[in-house]
């Protein structure tokens, strides 16, 4: 099967999955009690029937569910995700405003997690059973055992409050209004705490995965062959062991990118990072169903694309893997 037809087939599948996501989540979010009208009434502190009625009419909440679903589906088919109830802006705009922040944070976290995890895993795999190995195992399990939100708060407490090294939250320095390079640097500094917090949890997985793979690969015959060729240990490790050990990491990185798109709710919340995670949290608590559905759809599409990219990367890294098999 050639790569292009494969990609085509996968894109069709993405569309199908997205439709399933839309249908399922449409009913799912409707299961939750209350609607946007009640939220607004509650928050405004004052309400009467006219207020509620006009809100419901405006949002189409007074129509039968199948009608709402049909209207929604036909709009989505035309690329219109509707309008956020609470924000009164097109859902697409609302999400696109936040998406870059989330992608930025998560890309950074992914890089940190892979770099740190692979380094830890390699260190551990060098001598399985040694003190270094045990230390790495314990350390990675420690990362894995900490609640992310708490780790974030502790990092904030230590590095921002006690040591004063890093800004505790936000995307950039409040009120500074930097531009250009200064601004990029400012954002980068703000990204360190949330990014590393996010990364540590996954770093543990990469470390374990790398360690296992390195040890497994090191026992394979082709490594023996490589040694029999008389090439140096460094080359054996790099060209033969690591190269093969990294292949399973690609799958995991793909899986992780899926989690990262919508999974950073807690860290974004703790660090007030203006991303999709905080948006999703708001959407749930305000029953902003179009927004919530929009987030589901956008993440579904993104995750599908990430998965596709992962598969392609995998097929490049491992020539044995044929796309579509």
């Amino acid at each position: 099967m050639n790569r292009l037809t494969y990609i085509g087939a996968r894109l069709i599948k993405t569309v199908l999955i997205t439709i399933a996501v839309v249908l399922l989540s449409f009913f799912l979010v409707r299961l939750a009690p209350g609607d946007t009208a009640t939220v607004m009434a509650g928050q405004a502190g004052f309400a009467d029937e006219a207020f509620m009625k006009s809100l419901r009419a405006e949002y189409g909440l007074d129509q039968p569910l199948p009608v709402q679903l049909w209207k929604y589906l036909s709009a989505v088919a035309q690329g219109d995700l509707g309008s956020s109830f609470v924000r009164r802006q097109p859902v697409v705009d609302v999400i696109l405003e936040r998406l870059p922040n989330t992608l930025l944070l998560n890309a950074f976290a992914l890089l940190v997690a892979i770099a740190g995890g692979v380094a830890m895993g390699m260190m551990a795999a060098r001598r399985p059973g040694s003190a270094t190995d045990a230390a790495m195992t314990v350390l990675s399990m420690l990362f894995y055992a900490m609640p992310q939100f708490w780790l974030g708060m502790m990092a904030m407490l230590v590095f921002s409050v006690w040591l004063g090294w890093l800004p505790p939250f936000g995307l950039e320095t409040m009120g500074a209004d930097y531009t250009g390079l200064t601004r990029i640097g400012d954002i980068a500094v703000h990204m360190i705490l949330p990014g590393v917090t996010l990364a540590l949890y996954f770093m543990a997985s990469y470390a374990r995965l790398t360690r296992t793979a390195m040890i497994e690969v090191a026992d394979q015959d082709f490594v023996k062959t490589a040694r029999a060729k008389g090439i140096s240990e460094g080359q054996v490790a790099r060209r033969h062991i690591l190269r093969n050990a990294l292949v399973p990491l690609i799958t995991f990185a793909g899986l992780q990118s899926a989690i990262l798109v919508g999974g950073s709710v807690l860290v974004e919340n703790v660090f007030s990072w203006p991303g999709v995670g905080t948006l999703a949290y708001e959407a749930v608590t305000t029953r902003d169903n179009p927004l919530l559905l929009g987030i589901f759809i956008v993440t579904a599409v993104l995750v599908s694309l990430f998965n596709l990219a992962t598969d392609i990367a995998y097929s490049i890294a491992d020539p044995r893997v044929e796309l579509g098999r």
Binding site: K224, K229, Q235
Partner: protein, 535 residues
């Protein structure tokens, strides 16, 4: 004969603490002379492989050469610093391994893997190294070396891969080539080609080969000199003709005797009404899923056969010939796509599971892999009585019968309370046989029952199968890739290739006067054919 190329003296290889014995190699002394092939032959656990690995300085983690010397070019390889031995590896001593798929890095191109070795020892540019590599591949008899250099290992066949391995090993014209069971993972015809190739280049390049094998047939084909190893020691050593023709040690004699000669002694059983008649059986496999299109592969293509009480029908073929699929269709582990299977007058090809159930117990099977065919979480007793219990037999009665059957297959009934992992491969095959016999079957299907066993054990199991067949008047369908084994136990054979029957007939006739080229090729490829004295 002058100075030996390599001189192994009192080599001791120690196993890690906690292993079942202290030394895997226990005081081995061997010499390999220039321009000769030394075969080390032995069964599994004899220490033959570790001896070879010790020469390369490639002992597995935890295993150490704790004593003795390996002298090569005036230096003791065991005392050389890692960098010193590394310089020798690949340049002066090269090695090829048993499974060429596993021995090649799956994510690196063939070309790169060869040039890597060349450039580790010679400072030449990649392009030049690639040209050298191409030349080597051509020399190994591989077509289109240019394309091969760019391919990945999985795109090659087993034989091609082993040729690539040999090309790589020869790339720096080593003085010694160590071949560790280089043909065990290959089909018999491919094996013959590779053996021929090694022999040819050894002669052409006048180098030495240390050839590790378990097969005396291969020894007969290859060796100038032979060393027989057992339990980490060399029990007999000498010129090939001497050892093969006039073995001194009883173990050597037993080993040689156990090698099937590939000549049939059994006469066909008188054909009365067949118990099983398979007609025009076909089975296709669909590959891939919803989006990847569906290419059907025909694994069994209109195969017909008959089987009578008391006879053994051998189904012979190389890997992928469809023989196992055929067996699994007959026992309805797979549902055939076309054809009929008449068993005692009833067509079981399309029977529903419910209707099939009473007939099921009358066809039983012995599997290939003694390690995966027994449930590791059940005791031998549980395994053996599972069948009768499934048919509602009383527990106590079943256990009593199990004791008898275990005795029949040569096991102590007390083994019932133990778990499979406490047994050797041969013993496990006996347990598997006992399990099948518990249901008092009419037909026994044996799917490569001895291919994973050492040759001496193999002989015992084959004898047991034949005894049981006679005692219980079984009809046996015997699947094997080994012509020699088929010759030993089958009354009739059927040769399969690509899912089709190539030829069939009484074993003696087929072996003596094969009617097809393929059968002829198979017979010709039997290692050591005609070189071992008849028993």
């Amino acid at each position: 004969m002058g100075e030996p190329l390599i001189d192994i003296r009192d080599l001791i290889v120690a196993l890690p603490p906690g292993a079942d014995r202290a030394h895997a190699v226990d005081g081995v002394s061997l010499t390999i002379n220039p321009n000769e092939i030394l075969c080390i032959v032995g069964e599994s656990g004899s220490g033959k492989s570790l001896t070879a690995h010790a020469v390369m300085g490639l002992l597995p983690r935890g295993v150490t050469a704790s004593g003795g010397q390996i002298l090569f070019g005036g230096a003791d390889l065991l005392r050389l610093p890692p960098s010193g031995i590394r310089k020798l590896r690949g340049r002066d001593i090269a090695m090829i391994f048993q499974d060429p798929m596993a021995a090649l890095n799956p994510v690196v191109t063939i070309g790169r893997q060869i040039t890597e070795q060349i450039r580790a020892h010679r400072a030449i540019p990649e392009k030049e190294a690639l040209e050298l590599a191409g030349g080597l591949l051509a020399e190994m008899g591989l077509a289109d070396p240019k394309a091969l250099l760019k391919s990945f290992p999985h795109q090659l066949s087993g034989g091609q891969r082993q040729r690539v391995m040999i090309a790589m090993a020869l790339s720096l014209s080593p003085k010694l080539l160590i071949a560790d069971e280089p043909t065990t993972a290959l089909d018999v015809t491919t094996q013959a080609q590779i053996l021929k190739l090694i022999k040819r280049i050894q002669t052409e390049r006048a180098m030495s080969v240390l050839f590790i094998t378990h097969d005396f047939g291969v020894v007969a084909d290859m060796a100038d000199r032979v060393a027989v190893m057992r339990h980490g020691r060399v029990v007999e050593e000498g010129a090939a003709a001497e050892v093969l023709g006039n073995p001194k040690h009883s173990y050597t004699r037993a080993l040689i005797a156990a090698v099937p000669r590939g000549e049939s002694a059994l006469q066909p059983v008188a054909q009365d009404k067949p118990l099983l008649t398979v007609t025009e059986l076909s089975k296709h496999f669909r590959r891939g899923g919803f989006f990847s299109g569906s290419a059907a592969v025909t694994a069994v293509d209109r195969v017909s056969l008959t089987l009578s009480r008391g006879e053994t029908l051998g189904i012979v073929g190389e890997s992928g010939s469809g023989k196992s699929t055929l067996a699994r269709c007959v026992i309805r582990l797979l549902d055939p796509d076309a054809g009929e299977i008449l068993f005692d007058g009833a067509d079981i090809a399309r029977m529903t599971p419910g209707a099939l159930r009473p007939l099921r117990r009358r066809i039983q099977m012995v599997f290939q892999d003694p390690f995966s065919s027994l449930n590791p979480r059940q005791t031998v007793g549980e395994i053996v009585i599972a069948g009768p219990r499934a048919y509602g037999e009383d527990m106590k009665e079943a256990r009593e019968r199990a004791a008898d059957i275990l005795r029949l297959v040569g096991l102590n009934p007390e083994t019932m309370n133990r778990f499979p992992h406490e047994f050797s491969g041969g013993q496990r095959q006996r347990i598997g046989l006992a399990r099948a016999l518990m249901l008092k079957p009419d037909i026994l299907i044996a799917d490569e029952p001895v291919s994973a066993l050492d040759v001496t054990v193999q002989a015992q199991v084959l004898k047991l199968l034949d005894d049981v067949r006679q005692q219980m008047n079984l009809a046996m369908l015997f699947i094997t890739h080994d012509m020699r084994v088929a010759a030993q136990v089958c009354h009739r054979v059927m040769v399969m290739r690509h899912g089709q029957v190539v030829e069939s007939g009484p074993t003696g006739t087929v072996f003596a006067a094969p009617s097809s080229d393929y059968t002829r090729a198979l017979l010709a490829a039997i290692p050591g054919r005609g070189k071992l004295a008849p028993v």
